[in-house]
Symmetry: C2
């Protein structure tokens, strides 16, 4: 069955219907009828009779016709049987309200497993259990017991509805109720419950693909089917339908592996954040944030940049709003002299035309005149009107013209610093004018709109290009397939070399004489390191000797570091000693990979030393990134100024480093989950033109080849 | 006259009164009458007759009795004359609505100067001009043209009113109108206008001192009388009346001197922030933030800490609220097993008793039962109840008990994830129950309450102790008085030494032989530096030689650095060359002072190298701080972990550094504005027990001694 039919069923069987509204079955029935369900509603109750004025049927098998959807509100132990009966009767889909499944301990999990078996066996599609149902305002179908649907659904221009998909029914319907209060229009609200069959991603995909929805608000705590979710997000991005996501449960994450620095720093929350951002998913931390951002994205065109003019009749609001814009990274360019002169003509001499524009309450022209003057300024990407719309006077005199001027290419956002009275709210609705309730909400919405415009311009083409996954050189694949656990530096470097990543000349030697010969061939000063998969922290083990000037020093160091390694880790498997040239000086950075089970490979960069360990100044992006993406990632570090040569140092070879990051990220994408972690630490970035030196590296191989 | 009388006048003359409400004079008259002004209202209008049903007088001199207050709404050029007449008639105070003064260019500034002269000459006290007036809900006096006062003023328990003082009339009255919508009660709203005579600080002080006010909301852009403002803030702190402040205009600050690092980093915005925080003033960025924080502080007891339990009937809301708590630094301790067992008894088996507590919508006991169980848990400082109060059912069944339980020692905050309908809102008001409208607002309020409790416990005693200002040694005072501009390192170190700050042995020498002798006496290795007030950046000038091992090296370096200094700055006044021992290694920090014209001296600390220059990781506190305060300031740096000996380094001598910071801050407090800037950079902090070495220092002396 299609989800369009599921969400707009021509007939509904309500299994577990009851009289009154004390029980869920009764509440759902009253809600469906009260909200004007237009199809045939067939209550099922063993006692038959009449319920809420409709004839009730004792069994599903007794139904006079086959409905499109069954709603199930019977005790948990009876649910699987009810679903079985529905399937037997040819009902294609069911929604289970009942709780007491996966969310309720072991007994519930067993019931959920049984329900899943029934679904698999019969082929019926099931939403829930433990779901609060759905509301389809366009189909007049409120299949829910949520009291929040008793609100006028409003109406949006065609194609401008907001959809809601939520793992929490309470929150999903609260988005609807609060959003309606803010003047938004909703097409669907879907509470997905435990997702035993139909998942949040399924409903998200449907709303993205159906024509009436302009944006989707999503609340979730976990994603059982990340690939499906990301496919829906990609399709949403392709169709220009933003997803505004609250992903809760962050504060309880935080289980992180620590086999390498990257492992300790990247984690599934960070990987999820990076992948979702790459797909254009917009994040929010509270209901009002989601509603403000949804309003910005569905009621206004996207701005081309972050340059705004603020127009107010309150000087204080103008100043304060300018601060808020700065806090959110918006720019307020000074208005040009010619337009300033025209603005002066519509304000008393104690007004201010520069930006923020303070028209004062005594303005002769009002907002419409100011908008006329400013709307086509080529250095403005949008406008914010901060007035007092408490009363209807100004709305009546110039509201229509303000709305008309806001219907062009540039977004014009309206904010009322005084609360909007009911009659003024109604007039704004009639005018088709959205008003933001808070200054921060208004500015945050503009920022989200500008961010989303930047995503569409800069990131989306790459996302949609669907470049084939980078391929892995056969030698590199062979190393991955033949290894397990933590690799030694030498083994890791063989993997890097096989993947085409340039490394300093280096030899693995068996004894002191080989070491001396190798150092002579490679050139002094030399570096010696004991190679062992059991010594991930070589320096602490005394297994490294730096800056060895000649053969004698190499010979002495060889003995010393082997003895130290054996003393430090008596059982360590020692593969030999590596001999390499001493790296020339450079800025110390870390480049890593981390494969997240759900969100795939991510590349991680950070500056070495205190930056990663103390200041947690790291940046992460889904792999692969190209050189441009790698450069942007590096420049997003707080300490990025160091690349430009701060404190008298020469500029670092950022291009070479970006190239390395891109190649490492391609390796991560090509290797798949088998390359669980990779940590290049330190990498020395030499002055511009001097390239980079990978001084040490460690890889961690995942369980079995997929 | 007292401000109590000004704000509750027994009689009012309204000069510039008019019929209708087109003009300000008419609006004010209609508002006073409409809001039930209980005293005698005497309109003054040259045409006499009757206005709004009251007899009008042609001139102030014609008034039948002397009112307590004159309200003036005549064109700006006529205002000074009107004030003169009021003073002549013995009216003690006036409020000027008229615009066109200091805010309106040069002509307006001249009018304002004239008005100020009239005030000084006559002794009348004047609020405004360019003010929107005031509302005193307790005296039934709405002396304003703001339409926002047409709102039911509500009523709070005695002593729990909120006061508003605002530089922006529009915002001040919007606080009232929005705050009323959120169920808050206000005693006074005062728009202070241009503050030609009575300032915002005056009205703030009055509200702090009068009994009915529990907290004050303040909007301002600048403070004309910082000492008066801080005195009012100190009195507010003493009386336990929080000030919630929006200080706008930050984004346009940013004019900073750059004579030293400290000068470049501290600035008046940072100094203001630090001083206001020291006085317990709470900052907010938007109207809803101010209202939420005011609600938290006036409707609830202060928590003793940051440990909360979250109780919800929506699992999603419970999880999301836990995230919000973590974002704001609140802790959610796990509930003890015994209380978990009691919670389990009032929830179905799919609930969760750990914290956050998910009672589920099917809870048998509800919030009241959960509160009974948790309210006395010794590991909880407060509770957050996150329910759906859309409808009245739950409020009717358990609202009274919930409110009763919230009236104890611990704060219990209520938040409704679904919007609250009008009848539910009315019921909550009757119950005396405040509900937060957003999750973030609720958590932010709790955070502000916990911060304020910490201020009262930790900072307030020191603020009220009024320790005498540290005294300055006579030699130090003499150096300050006899100097000007930027001092050389040697001169700066003389100042430090005179102030009792220990410095390494150091000699200023005239020639190479003296240098060799001094180095021999002090001990090798030695450091030589050219001393000149015209060489603030000695290293860049080549005027420094480090780590000189012997006499020959000292002799050669002496010639080399003098030649380099002369080549770098040919006209530089050279005082000589300093000889000092090479500092032992240590963590590099910067300690500075910056005297702000308005907010006084502040001490600034940061870690050296990239931390200050690239990462802007600095902390600032009003001077003086004691050793405890200095330690807390140092530990507030992002990179504070370095003090504890990160990356294998030994722990640094934090105690010695805190002692240095405290002594420097005492010097700043004692020296006053004459010591405009001081920059100790670098200071080496040696391993614990090893003390600190001030390696370089520069002071900037301000204009004339005060």
């Amino acid at each position: 069955m299609t989800l369009a039919r599921f969400l707009a069923p021509r007939g509904i069987a309500l299994i577990g219907a009851s009289e009154g509204t004390a029980k869920i079955g009764g509440k759902v029935m009253a809600t469906l009828i009260g909200r004007g369900y237009p199809g045939r509603l067939m209550p099922v109750n063993p006692r038959g009779g009449t319920l809420h004025g409709l004839p009730a049927y004792a069994r599903v098998a007794d139904l006079p016709e086959t409905p499109d959807l069954a709603l199930i509100a019977v005790p948990a132990p009876l649910v699987a049987g009810a679903v079985e009966e529905c399937a037997a009767a040819g009902i294609p889909g069911a929604l289970v309200f009942s709780s007491g499944f996966g969310e309720a301990g072991e007994a519930g999990e067993r019931l959920q497993a049984g329900l899943r078996d029934t679904i698999r066996r019969t082929g019926i599609r099931v939403a829930g259990p433990n779901a609060e149902g759905f509301l389809n305002t366009r189909a007049g179908t409120a299949a829910t017991f949520s009291p929040a649907v008793h609100v006028d659904p409003g109406s949006a221009p065609p194609g401008r509805d907001i959809g809601v998909v939520s793992q929490s029914g309470g929150l999903g319907f609260a988005f609807y109720n609060r959003g309606r209060g803010a003047g938004l229009s909703f097409g669907h609200v879907v509470s997905v419950g435990n997702q035993v069959d139909l998942t949040l991603s399924d409903f998200l995909r449907h709303l993205v693909e159906e024509d009436g929805t302009a944006a989707v608000m999503v609340y979730l705590e976990s994603i059982p089917d990340v690939p499906a979710f990301l496919a829906a997000a990609r399709e949403a991005a392709r169709r220009g339908k933003p997803i505004i996501l609250a992903k809760a449960g962050r504060s309880e994450a935080g289980r992180r592996a620590a086999a390498s620095h990257t492992g300790a720093l990247a984690g599934s929350a960070e990987a999820a954040d990076a992948v979702l951002a790459r797909h254009g998913v917009i994040r929010a931390d509270d209901q009002d944030e989601m509603i403000d951002i949804a309003a910005g994205l569905t009621r206004h065109p996207l701005p081309k940049g972050r340059r705004v003019a603020v127009i107010s009749t309150s000087g204080g609001t103008a100043v304060w709003m300018a601060d808020a814009c700065a806090r959110f990274g918006l720019e307020l360019p000074e208005i040009d002299p010619e337009r300033q002169a025209r603005l002066r003509a519509i304000m008393p001499d104690f007004g201010s035309p520069a930006n923020p524009v303070d028209l004062t309450a005594q303005t002769s022209g009002g907002f419409a005149a100011a908008l006329e003057i400013l709307i086509d300024a080529p250095y403005l990407d949008g406008l914010i009107v901060a007035g007092s719309f408490t009363h209807t006077a100004r709305l009546k005199s110039e509201g229509a013209r303000m709305v008309e001027l806001s219907r062009g290419e540039k977004p014009v956002l309206f904010y009322s610093y005084a609360p909007v009275a009911d009659d003024a709210r109604a007039l704004m609705d009639r005018l088709g004018m959205h008003g933001f309730a808070t200054m921060t909400g208004c500015v945050r919405a503009f920022r989200a709109m500008a961010d989303h415009a930047a995503f569409r311009a800069d990131v989306l083409p790459g996302l949609l290009a669907e470049a084939p996954a980078p391929s892995l050189a056969p030698e590199a694949r062979a190393i991955l397939d033949d290894s397990a656990g933590t690799l030694s530096e030498s083994a890791t470097k063989r993997l890097l070399a096989a993947a085409g990543i340039a490394l300093p000349a280096e030899r693995l030697v068996r004894d002191a004489e080989e070491a001396v010969a190798a150092a002579g061939a490679i050139g002094f000063p030399a570096v010696l390191k004991v190679q062992s998969p059991d010594l991930p922290h070589k320096t602490e083990a005394g297994a490294v000797a730096l800056n060895l000037p000649d053969a004698a020093a190499v010979r002495a160091a060889h003995a010393r570091i082997l003895a130290a390694a054996r003393a430090h880790a008596p059982g360590a498997r020692i593969e030999g000693v590596s001999v390499a040239p001493m790296a020339p000086p450079g800025l110390e950075v870390i480049v890593g990979l981390k494969h997240d089970r759900d969100f795939g490979p991510a590349v991680v960069v950070g500056l070495g030393g205190i930056h990663v360990e103390i200041l947690r100044d790291v940046a992460l992006a889904p792999a692969p990134v190209d050189a441009d993406g790698a450069r942007a990632l590096l420049l997003s570090l707080r300490a990025a100024a160091l690349f430009r040569g701060a404190r008298g140092a020469p500029p670092a070879d950022l291009e070479a480093l970006a190239g390395l990051v891109a190649r490492v990220s391609a390796l991560g994408a090509a290797a798949g989950p088998r390359l669980a972690e990779l940590d290049l630490n330190p990498v020395f970035v030499h002055p511009a033109g001097g390239g980079v030196t990978v001084a040490d590296a460690v890889a961690v191989i995942g369980d079995a080849p997929p």
